[in-house]
Amino acid sequence: MDPFLTSRIVTDVLGGLTNGVTYGLVALSLVLIWRSTGILNFAQGAMPMFATYLGFALLSYHFGYWPCVVACVIAALLIGGLTERLLVHRLYGKPEINPIVVMVGFLIVLEAVAAAIWSSTPRSLPSPFSSIHWQLAGKPFALSPFIVYEFATALVVMAAVAGLFRFTNLGLQLRASALAPEVSRLLGVRVGRLLTLGWMLSTVVGVITTILVSANFFSGLTPTVMDGIFAYGFIAAAIGGLESPVGAIVAGVLLGVVNQFVTDYVNQDSVIIIALAILVVSLMIRPSGVFTKSTQRRV
């Protein structure tokens, strides 16, 4: 067997891709909420975390992995919808700092409540596929059935979100509601419902990411499981451009690969510094994001 496949470089690339798709999915959920409601959701990691705890509570009643995943998605729809209706709805049209402060506060509250209910002790989630890496000619290969499942899930979610915005009337209405709510209303678009739907969809993308992260990473599910990944997802969304689903994914995947190489060849502590340096440079060159067209809104 070709030793190249088990070489350090290939191992780093595959490891980076594995992390990168989760960054990409978080970035995608941020883009989804930005494009459909025009708000940066700093609780985008905490809301799905809460939904994941709720969904996997069914394990106690002897339900399997897939029913728990369905329950997580339902919980995410409810949390996303209720958050928009009860909390975010009052923030539209207010200064941009208001939703940021409120959502940071909401993140802290959700994490504290989750810790109070379920404790901060890592909770291991079941996995439908083995996380044990395959072997090639007796050497470990940086892929496992679970990682393939993770890639496949990420691709399906990405394609669904990109297709939603690009090809469907619903996607067009979601974008219109965020960009020009008054004009959208004048055209008969039910803006209020669409804003709620945008938050629901975004939380669903988030919960899928949280399930993958909690099952794959050895940390398990904790109230702060998404904090670090949210930070990299946020950086990826800013680099790719908050208007671009494709940009969010590509930037997330590339960031994951870069982080892996920095971890392997430099050290773990330098990862966030390098990531932020890339963010600063990319924003200096393309303030609206690498993949955002110049006619689109700048942030």
Binding site: Q173, L179, A180, L187, Q296, R297
Partner: protein
């Protein structure tokens, strides 16, 4: 037909419209004239449900529009082209038109063909972002987006604002043709009184929220005393 009776609209302590009554007849153009601050835009925003009136009634035929949501009023067949056009710059020309067609039960490709025939330049630029269009092209797009839904009433707020005289003339001609070829009811808010009165059947002159004239366009046009109101010569 749009019937407005005793409409009063306030912004805090300031009354933007005071006891306004008018009728916009089916298939006719009703011009609403007045200087800045006369209440013209507020009148259209009240019809569309963007501004809730304090008192008074607004009816589309027999149906009351007061207390209805803007999106529901739009779905009743009232198209509103707001001041500043309101095209979505981040969308292509075709995406703007698709959005306009979405709520109406019209065939999209047929609707697009009709609008591209009416405004050929939009057909040539269908894949271009609206932000890159000229002022006149944006106005055409805003009108086409309202028309593609086949409204029974079209509210136009300052369509000639910022346009060259020749483009304004073409636009007015298009509005007139649309009214003549269908039963479209148009309420045309304009500061460019000469252009508006040339194509309107009826005219209403507003002055600081009050109706000071409500007559045929030719009668309003001929009344020298009224000019001071819509030209803003009266405080």
């Amino acid at each position: 037909m749009i019937t407005i009776e005793g409409l009063t609209v306030s912004f805090g302590a300031v009354q933007a419209l005071r006891n306004v009554s008018l009728v916009a007849e089916t298939g006719k153009i009703t011009a609403v004239l007045g200087a800045n601050g006369a209440g013209k835009t507020t009148l259209l925003r009240s019809i569309s449900g963007l501004k809730e009136p304090n008192t008074g009634t607004i009816h589309l035929d027999d149906q009351s529009l007061v207390h209805k949501r803007t999106e529901d009023i739009a779905r009743l067949g009232i198209g509103h082209v707001p001041e500043g056009r309101g095209v979505i710059g981040e969308f292509t020309v075709e995406e703007n038109l698709r959005l306009g067609a979405m709520m109406a039960k019209v065939n999209l490709s047929q609707g697009l063909d009709e609008q591209y025939a009416l405004f050929p330049v939009l057909g040539e630029r269908r894949k271009q972002h609206a932000a890159k269009l000229s002022g006149g092209e944006r106005q055409m797009l805003a009108m086409a987006r309202a028309l593609i839904a086949q409204p029974s009433v079209l509210l136009l707020d300052e369509p000639s604002l910022g346009l060259a005289p020749l483009v304004t003339q073409q636009l007015m001609h298009t509005i007139q043709s649309l009214c003549e070829s269908s039963d479209l009811t148009v309420i045309l808010v304009e500061q460019n009184a000469t252009s508006a009165l040339r194509i309107a059947h009826h005219a209403v002159v507003l002055h600081v929220g009050k109706v000071v004239a409500n007559d045929t366009a030719s009668a309003v046009s001929a009344d020298e005393n009224l000019r001071q109101y819509y030209l803003g010569l009266v405080e």
